[in-house]
Symmetry: C2
Subunit: 284 residues, 2 copies
């Protein structure tokens, strides 16, 4: 299978590594809007060749769009337009974005909609760029395929095989359910980490030595605050309604614990913590 | 050196392991209010003998108080009373608590104050009990000694040697500075994680499958929500003033990002994230 990757960062690059190692990809071409990234991806060996977007679509059976979600909306549509224009009915395009509603709307009435598969592999790190690519990134993680009924059975089966090669467990969900759920389990965590980092950094302006105390507890809670603005600004904007609603629920929850502490209400604090401990059922 | 440990949980137990392995402790006795924990600590080999609090003080050169901070206030005072009553001027008592103000106030005018060293080894995991004890827990982490001028030079030097054996870097701070700073870098992270866990768990009541999506981002941000109520309820109450102030600053920060998202203000969102990215200077 010939694979084309548009966007050679953490996700695109890590896919390249495992799709090649595991024999799913015979040949991988790719492109990145950032020339330094593209050159690095070639040198590292993520791709066999750096090409233009046009060549990438031409030379590939599956085109993986792994760019920030605001750009992905346009790229996926351009690729589908090309499929239509050239009469390519066997090629497939898939994205890997963390919000799905806007791409769904943009592609909804496209003549080649069935050749597009909306996916979201739930894996990543707080790092970015081709240097952040790593083997086994996706192993045992979950990949959501959204509105699968809109894709052709053949395109869907091929993409499922691709994720099978990445050792992912595939789940299905509507586009709108996906965007609500990622707001809870991914986007909110990022809002929280960014705000936590800024709260502590504000304090540091007065007191330089505060960071002698940066214990492992803080490091883990603030880890996502290293995530980059190019990726996260469009996610926040595209999933605005869900994220605002979920963030309001979170602020209310913080306020509840804050008030219990302020009132020195031992029973309420203890109940709040006991309830939160139930998270052990879900995360290791 | 004979070591006595009151409270055989994660911190007390992990100290026992490394103080013994590294030859600092010749013999370790200990006690735990929970009989199951005490028996386990003996079986695991954390202590050579389980004793009463009285025996623990009698048989040890250094008494380590590693119990929740509300209990520690009483235990440290009881141990100092015993030093005074028996005329033991060479023995040392130290605590390991995450808030220091209340123990400082309770011991301030004690005749044996100089034999008490207020310490806070900034290390831990979200697990508790003797089974959570592990080797190398403290390696390369920071330990704060608070109000060191209130301890005798000899007691201080001995406790510094103990932390040296645990491979910790020792820093000095006033009690009140310590409590402000831990509010920022440790206590706030716990408030945030507990609230994040409860926000997501509330949602789960309606939609069971949300946890298919629990990506690694969420796991890391909510990790501390597994921390137990026995330890954290008294910390929140004892450091109430600092924690409430810091939490209010955090809520304001979340609100700022939430409003920028709601207004789809790309410039403001990007600036907020860029600012938060500076956390890279501090955490790996």
């Amino acid at each position: 299978m010939n694979i084309g990757i548009i966007g050679l960062g953490l996700i695109g690059g890590s896919m390249a590594i495992d799709l090649r190692r595991r024999g799913f990809a015979d040949r991988i071409v790719g492109m990145d809007a950032d020339k330094v990234n593209a050159a690095a991806a070639l040198k590292i060996g993520l791709v066999d060749e750096v090409v233009s977007e046009d060549e990438c679509v031409e030379k590939s059976d599956i085109i993986i769009v792994a760019v920030p979600v605001n750009v992905a909306v346009k790229v996926v549509c351009r690729v589908l337009d090309r499929f239509q224009k050239e009469g390519w009915t066997d090629k497939i395009v898939m994205d890997v974005c963390s919000t799905k509603e806007q791409i769904a709307q943009a592609t909804m009435y496209h003549a080649c909609r069935k050749q597009y598969v909306a996916t979201h592999p739930m894996a990543g790190t707080e790092y970015s760029g081709p240097w952040a690519a790593m083997p086994n990134l996706f192993d045992s993680k979950v990949c959501i395929i959204a509105d699968q009924q809109e894709s052709s059975p053949k395109a869907l089966a091929t993409v499922e095989k691709l994720y099978d090669a990445l050792n992912m467990r595939v789940g299905f969900m509507s586009v709108s359910a996906h965007d609500v759920h990622t707001a809870y389990v991914s986007h909110l965590s990022h809002v929280v980490s960014f705000a936590l980092a800024n709260t502590v950094l504000d304090k540091e302006k007065d007191e330089k030595h505060i960071f002698d105390l940066a214990s492992s507890g803080f490091s883990s809670t603030a880890r996502l605050a290293k995530s980059n603005a190019d990726m996260w600004t469009p996610i926040f904007i595209q999933n605005k309604d869900n994220i605002v609603r979920v963030t309001d629920a979170f602020i209310q929850s913080v306020q509840e614990l804050r008030d219990a502490i302020d009132n020195m209400d031992e029973t309420a604090i203890r109940a709040f913590i006991d309830e939160a401990n139930r998270i052990k059922r879900i995360i290791k």
